[in-house]
């Protein structure tokens, strides 16, 4: 088994929900502490593409503000918008030529239903992802790790 190493690229899923903000703050704090790059990923679905759901551009400033609050400057934050459902988009962030080596998500996100894997991005990721995954639980205080 390879030795555990400090992550150099941390990806965090962001859909604008309170749990996503909490996950972002936790991930930004970890990145600030370890020197990692933070990639904030927003999945654009069918409705958002059509302008029927909220636009991701509304999130960008909030993301940078939250990261700054955790001590992470904008030069270390990458805002990434990708087409797809949240689970698939986040899985793709852990694959390919420049993969994240740690993935962070909130426990529920904008959807989610107690007692069901369906509708829960975090539980689906836990079943599928091959990269270490941190699920920041609902109600977790937003503090630097």
């Amino acid at each position: 088994m390879p030795p555990t190493r400090i992550p150099t690229t941390i990806a965090v899923g962001f859909d604008g929900s309170p749990d996503a903000v909490r996950a972002l703050a936790w991930a930004a704090g970890l990145a600030a502490t370890t020197g990692a790059r933070l990639v904030v990923i927003h999945a654009v679905g069918l409705l958002e593409h059509a302008g029927i759901a909220g636009r991701s551009t509304a999130h960008r400033e909030a993301v940078l503000g939250t990261a700054a609050g955790a001590g992470l400057g904008p030069e270390r934050v990458e805002w990434s918008v990708a087409d797809g459902d949240p689970c698939s988009v986040l899985l793709r962030a852990t694959e390919g030529p420049d993969p994240a080596d740690l993935l962070v998500v909130g426990s529920r996100g904008a959807g989610g239903h107690p007692g069901s894997v369906l509708g829960s991005t975090s539980l689906e990721l836990a079943e599928r992802v091959r990269t270490p995954l941190v699920i920041v639980p609902e109600g977790h205080p937003v503090t630097v790790p």
């Binding site: 409705l47 087409d83 069901s116």
Partner: protein, 347 residues
Amino acid sequence: MLILAGPTGGGDEHHGAPHHPERPARIGAVMAGVEDLRLGEELVTLEAPPAPVDDLARVHRLPYLDEMESFCARGGGDLDPDTYARPGSWEAARRAAGAGLAAAAALRAHGDGVGLVVARPPGHHAEADRAMGFCLLNNVAVTAASLTAVGERVLIVDWDVHHGNGTQSIFWDDPRVLYVSTHQWPLFPGTGRAVEVGGVTALGLTVNVPLPAGATGDVVRQAVDHVAGPVVDRFAPDWVLVSCGFDAHRDDPLGELALSSGDFARLATDVAGYAPGPGRVLLFLEGGYDLAALRTSTAATLGALLGGGDRPEEPTSGGPGGDQVRATALRRDRAVHVAGESAPMDL
């Protein structure tokens, strides 16, 4: 003869928020397009029975099916930002899948005609164990798997504006199914690159032609003919199933391709030419969210396949993407070659 399975999904059994584009009224629009053709005795309508679980389980994992059924029974909810389930959605989805099975059986029995599945929720985004993109069960895949189970070879042509990630992933390693998709790129669901060509046991049997926004009908037909055509000829399908999304129409709110209903008519004629004989072409409603475009596109497509001429909009041409189609052919060939070189020697 048109063998129509359904309509199903046009009531309140599966509906989202009032603004949601994947709505029951889509079924009424498609049926209006069918009625415009005044087929009389040339229209055979079938019930859409719920698909048996054994048929669903050929393409979906049993724990997923159990979870979806119980999720709906508990009242349902949002599955992701796009996709919803309601108490009646499980039954609706099973009927949408069952409609395809009924249509294929009827086509086989008649030995003639064209099949059309008028059902929702749509299916081509649904994966083996995941609902997404408005889709709960993969209707076209369920029927394709039922055909391969009795030894048939199946071509699936997917001209929806979105890539059919679910269908692709389900048959990724299946040498009995050839999957061909033309779709806007980049766009949801983020899959469907030219270099996605199938797994080691079905190398080259996934054909993706991503197209830029604004691509017109001539470009899509070129993609099917130049890129997919040689593969289809070698594959020699017994059946042609079409993931018939009309959201590639220029008026659709969810995509930016620029097809007219007349383009769908020409595409349908082209694709039907891949069938080995009569009674082997079956269309499945996928996307399409502008009700007027749904109606005219349905009428134009069926009119072309049935020998009629209802084509209210002229075919389109001159849009971007021709160069991309030619590049896709090269990139595909290279990807197949590279994957073949790296495949295990005993395959």
